[in-house]
């Protein structure tokens, strides 16, 4: 964790163009960056709460009074005022995601076009483009745009993130073979990154949890003290219910 923060501070320092050698970076920079992230997260949370309330109240998408428009503007202003910071990458991704949720496709595309291929906002923004395709039941734009980013970016983590969402789009379209290949490319692009891990998980889902495959077996003690051994239940139909009381 300490090491992570240390690298984060170097990274933020580099983005800010402070010009100091890495050794000169002091913890207050990391603390300030973390505080900025915490602050923007509060703004983002407030935005999503208002969208939820709007929707619960019967509000329709793509209307002039949709709260996504105003919150998107707030977050985009933040991006412009704090270029290159981690907080700005969050603001960027959620600004566009809000437009997607509000079904303001053209505005979302126009904003997306302003995000350069090496802008770390893509690590989060990628999922917003997937969401657009899933909502519209048409992944043409999603796959086209993300493929261009994947081909042009110099950042391994961005490449891994956009490949992950291309793969998710392909899987949703039913092209499991293409999705598997794309997930493998995502996994290989930036080993250890969150996207890479997720891609590995999705490959596992395809290769171990698809319909028709033998269910992974386990043996565990139940709350009532009895042991449940899945393999011993062959011959009976079984429903595994993953749930929670709340």
């Amino acid at each position: 964790m300490v090491q992570k923060l240390f690298f984060a501070s170097i990274f933020v320092g580099a983005l800010l163009g402070s010009g100091h050698p890495a050794q000169a970076q002091t913890p207050p920079d990391a603390a300030a960056a973390a505080a900025a992230v915490a602050e923007i997260r509060q703004t983002i949370d407030a935005a999503w709460k208002e969208l939820q309330a709007y929707r619960t109240g019967g509000g329709k998408p793509a209307t002039p009074e949709h709260p996504a428009l105003k919150w998107h503007a707030t977050l985009w202003t933040y991006r412009e005022q704090h270029p290159g910071t981690e907080a700005a990458t969050r603001a960027t991704a959620d600004a566009i995601r809000l437009l997607v949720r509000g079904e303001f496709w053209e505005q979302a595309h126009a904003r997306t076009d302003l995000v350069g291929v090496d802008d770390l906002s893509w690590e989060r923004l990628s999922a917003a483009l997937y969401e657009e395709g899933a909502t519209r039941k048409d992944f043409t734009y999603t796959i086209d745009k993300l493929s261009k980013v994947a081909a042009a970016t110099a950042s391994p983590t961005i490449k891994s993130a956009v490949l992950l969402d291309i793969g998710r789009a392909q899987r949703r379209q039913g092209d499991v073979a293409a999705a598997t290949k794309t997930f493998e490319a995502s996994r290989a692009a930036a080993p250890g990154s969150a996207s890479s891990e997720e891609a590995g998980g999705l490959i596992y889902e395809i290769t171990h949890l698809s319909v028709g495959l033998p269910a992974p077996t386990f043996s565990a003690r139940a709350r009532n003290g009895k042991t449940v051994e899945l393999a011993a239940l062959h011959g009976r139909a079984v429903v595994l219910v993953f749930w929670a009381t709340t």
Binding site: G201, Y204, E205, L209, S210, V211, G212, L213, P214, A215, P216, T217, F218, A220, R221, A222, R223, N224, K226, V228, L230, A231, L233, H234, G235, R236, A237, V238, V239, L240, V241, F242, W243, A244, T245, T246
Partner: protein, 80 residues
């Protein structure tokens, strides 16, 4: 048969809930939520997620709600 895998972290609350609602099937829970070994094995997308397994132990369906359990179970049970 049904097997519950609870991702609750408060196991006392789980036990109370199961007792109050008289849920008859076994509950597996280790308090580790989605990081427990069985959720890791099955990667549920949130709760509820249901896996219907046929008599040979193969995955017959993965469901995001309990709504289609009955029709999927019926399919599985009518298989030879």
């Amino acid at each position: 048969m049904f097997v519950g895998i609870s991702v609750d972290t408060n196991l006392d609350r789980l036990d109370t809930f199961v007792k109050e609602k008289a849920i008859p099937w076994a509950q597996l829970a280790d308090g580790k939520a989605f990081d427990g070994p069985i959720p890791k094995l099955y990667r549920p997308n949130g709760t509820p997620t249901l896996f219907v397994l046929d008599r040979s132990g193969k995955i017959a369906a993965k469901l995001g709600s309990a709504e289609q359990v009955e029709e999927n179970l019926r399919k599985v049970l009518t298989q030879p």
